[in-house]
Symmetry: C2
Subunit: 261 residues, 2 copies
Amino acid sequence: MADAKVYSVSQLSKLAGVSVKTLHYYDHKGLLVPMRQLDNGYRTYSQKHLVILQQILIYRALDFSIEAIKNLLNAKSQDLHQALLEQKMMLVDRQQSISSMINSIEATMNNLKAKKNLDIFFQDIPKDKVERWDAMTRSRAGEDKVQESVQNFAKLSEQETQELHAESLEITKAFAKTIGQPIDSKEVQELTDKHYKSINHMSSLLVEDFTGISFDSYIQMANSVDMSEMKELCEHYGEGYAEHARAAMIYYAERNLRRNK
Amino acid sequence: MADAKVYSVSQLSKLAGVSVKTLHYYDHKGLLVPMRQLDNGYRTYSQKHLVILQQILIYRALDFSIEAIKNLLNAKSQDLHQALLEQKMMLVDRQQSISSMINSIEATMNNLKAKKNLDIFFQDIPKDKVERWDAMTRSRAGEDKVQESVQNFAKLSEQETQELHAESLEITKAFAKTIGQPIDSKEVQELTDKHYKSINHMSSLLVEDFTGISFDSYIQMANSVDMSEMKELCEHYGEGYAEHARAAMIYYAERNLRRNK
DNA sequence: TTCAACTATGACCTAAGGTGAGAGTCAACC
DNA sequence: GGTTGACTCTCACCTTAGGTCATAGTTGAA
């Protein structure tokens, strides 16, 4: 009888690696009720209590609730099996919902990066003009289409974006200076060629399996430049920019089409 | 000015799909504070509130705390990026811990099944004897080894286990009846042969890449039968069973060894 | 006027303990 | 015997993100 080891709260807490308060709580909840043999009201735990506590901690680590653990400790193997199965299913559900949260976060971060890169592109154009153009594009092309092409900009690093923007700005500014010159002049056509190659370069970075912009597409693009809010955007670099650019681009594309025939 | 739409609590709650109490709570917490323009003290929400609320709900779905959301709503894109990154890392951690919980549950269920099958095997032997033998084996072979071979029994279905047990019990009982007979008698050797084939069959189900029990191993097995608690287990089927079995098994194995030479 | 529907606040509840207060207990040391 | 430090007890309040209930005031319609 002398070998019946008993533990005090703090002894058991150290042994099992839980706080004293946790033991109080388990007592309170009827999960692990100690003896109270001493007349000072102190809790005393036996070796058996230790074993049960360890079992409790295993279930706790498996994310069972206190109430569930209480049932599990008295459960038959069949109920136990069922409970484990249910808990596993719950955990699998949670895993899936966490997975989709992670996906959402990644999408959000992607979006954030894309928008940052777009800001770099439009940094030198007044915000109100950009906003008008943005709203127009969204309503004309549809949210989904816009969303999709915005996402493409997430593929670029900040450095790449800066470089692309610098390249494009350089061409645009040089082109603005040629407003008034004949569109078939050597300088204008050389700049148009630069522009064509530049947007090809950019598209190759943005679009997967990019195969090149056809001259027909380039003509379409040229025509769209003259559209209301788009025009306003272009005119920021000089009055008459939109028309000048449109004409130069079409001349460039048609000449190349003839040449290739 | 007349087009400035406002919503009451319940209108907003229906629009956004949250409870009125949630809106009260967000007000209380300073997350979404409505206007109180009417002198009846009623909350009124504007269109802007609706937009913010939707943003809040997105963050809530991503498992951000209220306090974190409050910061996010005022955050710059850099902070936002950082917060999203941290949240993602937290979720990845959680995912991992849930994964390991699921693994633990599967291991526990496996263990449960193994023990159930073992119970079927030992069902006709008094529990105290089984427990003594079990304790002995654990201390002699080590917990890990025992655990490993216990796990093997999880591979069996209940039906298979029943069948294997029936087969083994039949042989054992028949063999018990031959106690006293000479070990080189035809009946004893035929039963021994059955036993040899039976444990080969069983092992093939339990052990991966099983290649058969050698006659040398069979002799080792025979000798181990005479060990204290193991002996007690065997003697349950009849006095002198252990020695009789051991002699018969060794005779069987040695004769086969000679024959194969 | 009366009724239903809507709104407000406040108090208490959840799970699994954490934290602190105030008081009693124990063993050792002086 | 007194003191000190280490333990122990219970009680009450705190945490998250709201839910539930009670009580009371307000509004619009019949």
